[in-house]
Symmetry: C2
Subunit: 241 residues, 2 copies
């Protein structure tokens, strides 16, 4: 299996077409998986906000003052949030309107002009699907697409890349019912491969955003239709919400 | 970057030497990272228990009866456990004596003979270090070693591979203080690369344990001494314990 970084020098704007950019920047094979950093999708889709245009509510002003956070940023976070899961020492772990549990609703100010912040795409499955179908239409090559973002974790230090949108692959490989090497039935092993593929891609991406796209080649999988919701644990099954 | 599976047909026993097995099964390069599945380390180190020899306490019998779990398995889990973090519907999330938060203290019955269970290695850093130094001594090649295991996560469905022992690499790359592509200082981005490398390796491992070892080649890193504890979030910083 190979993880191939795709260098993109250009700053992404809404007038860009991500699939054209991919096709002009690398040589795709049938069965490749494209992992694309959320940041360039958000920029292409105009999910970028000038902080000076944001009017913070009294709640956002309060949280901002309590934790020395920019109240306009807090306002943006709350506007993307279904509910606050944890709030302590300036850390805001929320459930986004799309159901992701993450810090600051995935909003951040890195790799964007001073005074601006990027929001997560409205629907990353749709973003992934549109790129996938454009590539299929133009090249007749069937690839899968993952939109990835960097999330923190409970219990463990450091962040890892996770999938926030998918098209063309099953995000979870369930081994239940298959046999182990002793011919015993495997019971509870389901692997979140879309997250593992995102993590693998991050290793060659770095943080300067000159490599916002990665090709994963020679990973064995079947092209199938699935949705990112399959990776989100339903609340009633979640022991930590 | 390449992820190269290493096929090992043989069932691992305490008389085996994992570093010899690696050297006879693949061609290592200087600067490779070896990711090794916990299961074969546990087998080599004799961390395997015959369930019929386990005497369950009344507590283990009680938990077993409540949740239709084998009370001898519960006894083993509790014997490796510092404390129970969550217990519901037969799911036991515990803090192991080594500080990992995981289901069933990392004990499981897959890929081992019927009637047996494997425990996590006593100290996976030591296991990793010993393999690393044996390889260095025999070949003069400097590689890093990660021992990995499959953990579930709060919030997200499916399990991913994580590092439980390391030797020769920094498990976390901290970008704080560096500049993004707009020359702004990055603030809170620290990436748990040892977990991402473990996840990348899992993608070629599968679950039958014929591929318990993976080589990661052409990943850019510096050989350094670190410990797995750097990946464990201290309790006072953990919002979910």
């Amino acid at each position: 299996m190979e993880i191939i970084p795709v260098l993109i020098e250009k700053e992404i704007e809404p007038s860009d077409d991500i699939s054209d950019l991919v096709l002009s920047s690398c040589d795709l094979h049938d069965g490749d998986i494209l992992v694309i950093a959320q940041k360039i999708i958000s920029k292409q889709e105009g999910r970028i906000v000038k902080l000076s245009t944001v009017e913070p509510s009294l709640l956002s002003q309060g949280i901002g003052s309590q934790y020395q956070k920019d109240p306009r940023l807090v306002e943006l976070i709350l506007s993307e949030t279904k509910r606050i899961i944890r709030m302590k020492n300036g850390i805001l772990i929320v459930e986004t309107k799309n159901g992701f549990i993450c810090a600051n609703a995935g909003i951040d100010e890195s790799n964007v002009q001073e005074g601006y912040a990027t929001l997560l795409p409205i629907n990353s499955d749709v973003s992934a699907e549109s790129i996938r179908y454009n590539i299929l239409k133009q090249t007749n090559k069937n690839v899968a697409v993952i939109i990835s973002d960097t999330f923190g974790r409970p219990f463990r230090m450091g962040q890892t890349n996770c999938a926030i949108g998918i098209s063309g692959l099953n995000p979870i490989i369930d081994y239940a019912g298959l046999h182990d090497s002793f011919q015993k039935i495997l019971r509870v092993t389901a692997i979140a491969v879309a997250d593992e593929l995102s993590s693998a891609a991050e290793l060659v991406m770095g943080k300067s955003l000159k490599i916002p796209i990665t090709i994963i080649r020679n990973y064995s999988f079947k092209i199938e239709d699935h949705v990112i919701d399959e990776l989100i644990r339903p609340e009633h099954e979640d022991l930590f919400r």
